[in-house]
């Protein structure tokens, strides 16, 4: 993805699009909820409501089909700022659980992925035999394994955060392995030949040529891996919802038809993912800049 600096001529279009999105959202919410609201008025025997009343009530329903943005904002404010962060109703509490699983999983997935990539590139027969499988795994919906991993780990009495962190780890593991292996193979034959004329050992080639050359690939795949780890954690929480997390909030919301709660959890998950990817991106950019890669 091309790196685009945030300048003035980008902010105005972005704000315009966001404003348009906002308006479309309100119109859609009013339209989608009005049928439901009309029925509610009819059930209450109210036949004298005006169009304005219908619209304002449609935008402030308790269980709307599509909650209006201000309802989601109010819910977020209530569950993040007002509610005690240690309470089980607080989104901070649930986001904390999800973040912990995501981070443990992401770090484990990244370390394993990088190690395996180094191993695979160092051992030629592994590269020929194992690498095609790792690449092929990218086309397989591996997330389908999530419910099973939870149950299997349960057999070993491993509960709590661990199963969800494991799922986050293996979802981030594959893209990071593939990206890192690609990066380690990025040096050109000419550069490798130069190392050979220096009589460099394979460890030295790795440290001084392959590892530095792989950095852009590593950070690109770390971004993908971070987003994947969060998805893994959220989906794992859906299948193992008893101890909280944003995925558990999504599931609870869908059980009880609490749409505002679902959207609030969704926005929190999106913010978490965005922040995580932005952080990795920031670290990546500063490291790459220091190592002299063109921005």
């Amino acid at each position: 993805m091309p790196v685009i600096p945030m300048t003035r001529d980008r902010i105005l279009p972005l704000l315009t699009v966001l404003a348009a999105l906002f308006i479309v959202w309100y119109v859609a919410a009013a339209l989608m909820n009005s049928t439901l609201q009309r029925d509610m008025f009819a059930n209450a025997g109210d036949k004298t409501y005006t169009t304005v009343e219908l619209i304002t009530s449609s935008l402030n329903m308790e269980r709307p089909k599509l909650p209006a943005p201000h309802q989601i904002a109010a819910e977020l404010y209530k569950l993040i700022v007002v509610t005690d962060p240690t309470s089980k109703r607080s989104l901070v509490y649930h986001a904390g659980i999800t973040l912990e699983e995501t981070l443990i999983g992401f770090v484990a997935g990244a370390v394993l992925g990088v190690l395996l990539a180094i191993f695979v590139v160092a051992v030629p027969w592994l590269e020929r035999s194992l690498m095609p499988w790792i690449v092929a795994s990218q086309t397989v919906p591996i997330i389908a394994l999530a419910p099973m991993i939870v149950v299997i780990l349960n057999q070993f009495d491993i509960g709590g955060l661990a199963p969800k962190a494991v799922i986050a780890a293996y979802l981030s593991f594959f893209p990071i392995t593939v990206g890192m292996a690609k990066g380690l193979r990025a040096p050109e034959p000419l550069q490798l030949d130069l190392m050979r004329t220096y009589n460099a050992t394979s460890g030295q080639v790795l440290r001084k040529l392959r590892a530095p050359a792989s950095l852009p690939f590593l950070f690109a795949s770390l971004k993908v891996g971070a987003a994947a780890a969060l998805v893994g954690a959220v989906v794992a929480e859906v299948t193992k919802s008893e101890d909280g997390g944003l995925g558990a909030r999504l599931l609870a919301g869908s059980y009880y038809g609490q749409t505002v709660q679902i959207w609030a959890a969704l926005f929190t998950a999106a913010a978490l993912s965005g922040a995580l990817v932005a952080l990795v991106d920031f670290v990546g950019r500063s490291v790459l800049k220091r190592r002299g890669f063109a921005a």
């Binding site: 993805m1 091309p2 685009i4 001529d9 980008r10 279009p13 972005l14 704000l15 315009t16 699009v17 966001l18 089909k65 027969w125 020929r128 035999s129 194992l130 690498m131 095609p132 499988w133 092929a136 990218q138 086309t139 397989v140 919906p141 997330i143 389908a144 394994l145 419910p147 099973m148 939870v150 149950v151 299997i152 057999q155 971004k223 987003a227 969060l230 998805v231 959220v234 989906v235 859906v238 299948t239 944003l246 995925g247 999504l250 599931l251 919301g253 869908s254 038809g257 749409t259 679902i262 959207w263 959890a265 969704l266 998950a269 999106a270 993912s273 965005g274 990817v277």
Partner: protein, 253 residues
């Protein structure tokens, strides 16, 4: 992958299966933890009708969503391409949304479109739309100044330039999105089924059989999901080869 190149990975896969089989027998690993490959194969063969029905149910949502999502993404990319203002506004947004856990919209879609496959298709539409939008936009902008100038000297209008130069030129990018989206579509449909389905579908089968501790059936479903996911990807990659045979990445071979 051709001929000799395919031998090492196949041998490796076979070795893993053999070790797996031997380990489950030698250490008598209980089937609720890890069933032997032979047990999974037998379960697969014995449950073909169920697995087939699950496959049809899930793939319906996958394909419908994949077609609509990609078509919408491509269409919007072409539309906003005429307005640099919209492009500058939508692209960062599309990039951002691509990195979000969109899968979370699954419960909402299940509420809006019911338990059956249309809600799964809706999740897939949302998941596939943004990667296609971003890739197709970048692709449409990728035609070089010289080529555009040439079209101008031919007196070609917007449409002719679009169909004869910029769309063909964007094809590698479009196919990149199509390939990414095959996996996203499968993931979207399967995970959406965790949130509610009629009693059929691969995601439903996985979540219920896990509850019954019928791990061999779960593995059998995963095999079906993995094979269909890879075939879907291979199909799109094959189409890409035929459609963009002129591209540098294929010409060299």
């Amino acid at each position: 992958m051709k001929g000799r190149e395919a031998v090492p990975p196949l041998a490796f896969g076979l070795a893993v299966l053999l070790i797996w089989e031997a380990a489950t027998r030698a250490f008598q690993i209980p089937a609720v933890i890890l069933p032997a490959p032979s047990a999974i194969a037998m379960r697969l063969a014995a449950s073909l009708p169920t697995l087939g029905a699950d496959f049809v149910q899930t793939i319906r949502g996958v394909l419908a969503g994949y077609l609509i999502g990609n078509a919408a993404g491509l269409l919007v990319a072409i539309l906003i391409d005429r307005s640099p203002f919209l492009r500058r506004g939508l692209l960062p947004l599309g990039n951002l949304v691509s990195a979000l856990p969109i899968i979370g919209v699954a419960p909402i879609m299940v509420m809006w479109f019911g338990f059956d496959w249309p809600s799964k298709a809706a999740v897939v539409v949302v998941m596939t739309f943004f990667p296609m939008l971003v890739n197709a936009s970048v692709g449409l902008a990728s035609a070089g100044a010289i080529e555009r100038d040439l079209m101008k000297t031919y007196g070609a209008g917007y449409r002719q330039t679009l169909f004869k130069l910029r769309l063909p030129n964007a094809l590698p990018f479009v196919f990149n999105a199509l390939k990414i989206n095959t996996t996203l579509a499968m993931i979207g449909a399967i995970v959406a089924e965790f949130f509610g389905t009629p009693t059929v579908g691969m995601g439903f089968r996985i979540s219920t059989e896990v509850g019954h501790l019928a791990i061999d059936m779960v593995w059998a479903t995963i095999v079906v999901a993995a094979v269909s996911g890879s075939l879907f990807y291979a199909l799109v990659a094959g189409l890409e080869r035929r459609a963009t045979f002129w591209h540098a990445s294929y010409r060299a071979k």
